[in-house]
């Protein structure tokens, strides 16, 4: 239950923070949520990871889908030398997921240290 509430909070706040602030706000959100809702360190990491993976994966897919992945085709060629919009979407999601995951892990350790 804690896991699901944490995930929902991270996804929701990351989404809204992303509308107004830089991309790295996902780290701040995951960090704070992880301090407020205590979980085991590893679970915190997974929670942050999965939340932002889903959020960024869906968002980038949605943006890319709206113009037939034209830009994603080109940028995937540019970065990976392979024409694969989904690889680019996956990489985008993965980057956000790792950042949020480690931020959540940090939050979890901070909470533990305080106690």
């Amino acid at each position: 239950m804690k896991f699901i509430i944490s995930a929902i909070l991270i996804i929701m706040f990351s989404f809204f923070a992303g509308l107004y602030f830089p991309w790295w706000m996902v780290a701040v959100v995951a960090f704070l949520v992880s301090i407020i809702i205590q979980q085991r360190h590893f679970v915190s990491f997974i929670c942050g990871f999965i939340s932002v993976f889903l959020l960024w994966g869906f968002l980038s897919f949605w943006i890319s889908f709206q113009n037939d992945h034209i830009l994603a085709h080109r940028v995937s060629l540019l970065i990976f030398k392979t024409d694969s919009p989904f690889l680019l979407i996956f990489a985008t999601a993965l980057i956000g997921a790792l950042v949020a995951g480690f931020a959540a892990l940090t939050g979890s350790y901070v909470r533990k240290e305080k106690q």
Partner: protein, 579 residues
């Protein structure tokens, strides 16, 4: 040779010149015999920059109204250099292509006429060697006296560092552009050159475009092009009332023979430009009997033109265009599209017999013989699947190397090799041309030796291309439209298009027809156009490169000059409002 078929036909009589240029008294000793060969880096426009334009009168068209065509050849880049635009005001409508930021149509048409340009290729920039009194550069020798230099300090701001102050010295001739600091010490140049460039004179070229956009007739066009001073252009014009015209227009210096082809002494005022050619003496052609006007960067006039026409003029496209237009009648816009995208290589037609006649076929290996057979049967067309075109182009390039490289390397000077038209001319004129000999061998080579050596050199390259399945001309030439940041993913590579140098369809590796336009000036204008790009500069837009395939296939879009009454037309996809 260069005046093969000038813009103004041979035999045209020119009025006596208003300016009588005087050759300096010392020209023989100080100029013609003492050509300066200092190595300096000069930035020049791409030598491939060229264009075609022509207009045919109603007597030659099926509709009875003139047709005007233009295709400017520029670097093929994305985002595209051109975009299409329509300008509508209460008093006029103009449609065509323009550059981002330009507030007018540059090449296009309006409700009564059409206009276009090709480069006039004239030389409007000369260099003069300045003799300074000492290292302070405060005085220079001019007309037998020391004259004080004026100077301007350019303050170049550098982030996080003190300003860089660059002193530019000015003489009566112009600014001293090259001095020992010019190359930042990369070249050991201790000479000083002042530049006299027409572009430094005040002028208002933009006004030409705004006036052309609203021109109604030939007189309006004539008034408009008076504002063109530099760079000189062959301005072509056609109107619905039946006029066609071309002016080799600009404000050009009146020069004596070969003035400015080499650097000139900057110590003597007799070497300066003595005046500008009055614009009404510029070569021009209005409603000629032959029923068409055209230009393709060739010489504007033959040698009977009273002023020296410095510059470099590729002759072949113009020759071919005129030959074809001469024969055409009952012309439709479709005929013009076919001509504009034609791949006939007239230079190949003139030069191939030399290669075939002089080839020492008995010296060739069986594989080389096979290639030679393909070359012999080439139909002079640079079509995209032609193997003969690849063989011809590579062989001719190799022949230039075989003939010129040894001597030019030995000279140690940074000199450009003569153009292909010069070499062809030399071969036809001089059976014992001294450059045939390879000076690095004890033997004395002949043209036949050179042609055979060139072919062997060429086939080595071609064999490799053949093995990789890239011997067909389009694959070998590999035309691409390149993103400005040279990112392949944002470029369009390997386009299936023929043509190239010396064909009307001048699509080279990364240079070519940057806008093709055919305007039939019927009462309801019938306009066609295409360019290798798209209306958007955003690589994420489907409008980024959506014209490229149509362009490569030699097809056109019908251009739609919107009328106010068509505001609810279903073809309108977007509307922007500025409130």
């Amino acid at each position: 040779m260069d005046s093969l078929d000038p813009i103004v036909p041979k035999g045209t009589e020119f009025p006596p010149p208003a300016i009588q240029v005087k050759v300096p008294a010392t020209a023989d000793s100080l100029y013609y015999d003492k050509k300066d060969t200092t190595i300096i880096e000069e930035q020049k426009p791409d030598k491939d920059n060229g264009s075609n334009n022509w207009a045919v009168s109603g007597q030659k068209t099926a509709s009875g109204y003139p047709i005007l065509c233009n295709d400017p050849h520029l670097g093929l880049n994305l985002p595209s250099i051109w975009y299409e635009m329509q300008i509508s005001t209460p008093s006029y409508n103009a449609y065509g292509v323009t550059f981002p930021g330009a507030p007018a149509i540059i090449i296009g048409f309006n409700d009564s006429c059409a206009f276009g340009f090709t480069n006039a290729q004239r030389d409007v920039r000369d260099y003069f060697e300045i003799k300074f009194k000492d290292d302070s550069h405060s005085e220079y020798w001019f007309d037998s006296t020391w004259v004080p230099t004026t100077y301007r300090i350019e303050d170049i701001k550098i982030k996080g560092e003190p300003d860089y102050l660059d002193t530019v010295f000015y003489t009566k001739i112009g600014p001293v552009m090259y001095d020992e600091k010019f190359s930042g010490g990369r070249n050991a140049n201790h000479k000083n050159y002042a530049v006299r460039w027409k572009a430094h004179d005040a002028s208002n070229e933009l006004k030409m475009f705004t006036l052309l956009n609203k021109a109604n007739n030939y007189n309006d066009y004539l008034k408009a092009i008076k504002y063109l001073h530099t760079p000189g252009q062959n301005c072509i014009f056609a109107s619905k009332n039946g006029d066609i015209a071309i002016w080799d227009q600009g404000e050009f210096p009146a020069k004596w023979y070969r003035q400015g082809d080499f650097t000139m002494p900057g110590t003597d005022s007799s070497y300066l430009w003595q005046g500008m050619i009055p614009q009404d003496e510029n070569p021009h052609l209005i409603n000629p009997e032959r029923g068409f006007v055209s230009s393709a960067n060739q010489m504007p006039a033959d040698t009977s033109y009273p002023y020296y026409l410095g510059g470099s003029f590729p002759p072949y496209r113009g020759w071919e265009i005129n030959k074809r237009l001469e024969k055409m009648n009952n012309i439709t816009p479709e005929d013009m599209m076919e001509l504009q995208t034609d791949n006939f290589n007239v230079f190949g037609q003139m030069a191939l017999p030399i290669l075939v006649k002089n080839m020492q076929a008995d010296k060739l290996s069986p594989q080389e013989k096979k290639y030679f057979d393909i070359l012999k049967k080439w139909n002079f067309r640079n079509d995209k699947d032609s193997k003969g075109a690849t063989l011809f182009v590579v062989t001719w390039d190799s022949l230039e190397t075989v003939i010129w490289k040894d001597e030019f390397t030995k000279s140690g000077l940074q000199l450009p090799w003569p153009s292909e038209s010069t070499l062809l001319d030399d071969i036809n004129k001089y059976p014992n041309f001294r450059f045939y000999d390879d000076i690095t061998t004890p033997n004395v080579e002949t043209l036949a030796d050179d042609v055979t050596a060139a072919f062997e050199m060429a086939t080595a390259v071609i064999r490799q291309a053949d093995e990789n399945g890239k011997m067909e001309w389009a694959k070998y030439k590999d035309t691409h439209v390149e993103h400005l940041a040279r990112l392949d993913a944002f470029s369009r590579l390997h386009l299936p298009i023929g043509g190239g140098t010396n064909t009307i369809n001048a699509a080279k590796e990364q240079h070519g027809p940057s806008w093709r336009m055919v305007i039939s000036l019927t009462p309801e204008t019938e306009a066609y156009g295409v360019y290798p790009g798209g209306e958007s500069g955003d690589p994420g837009s489907k409008y980024y490169d959506d014209f490229i395939d149509t362009w490569a296939a030699g097809q056109y879009f019908r251009l739609w000059m919107m009328k106010a009454s068509e505001v609810n037309d279903t073809r309108i996809k977007f509307a922007m409002s500025f409130n």
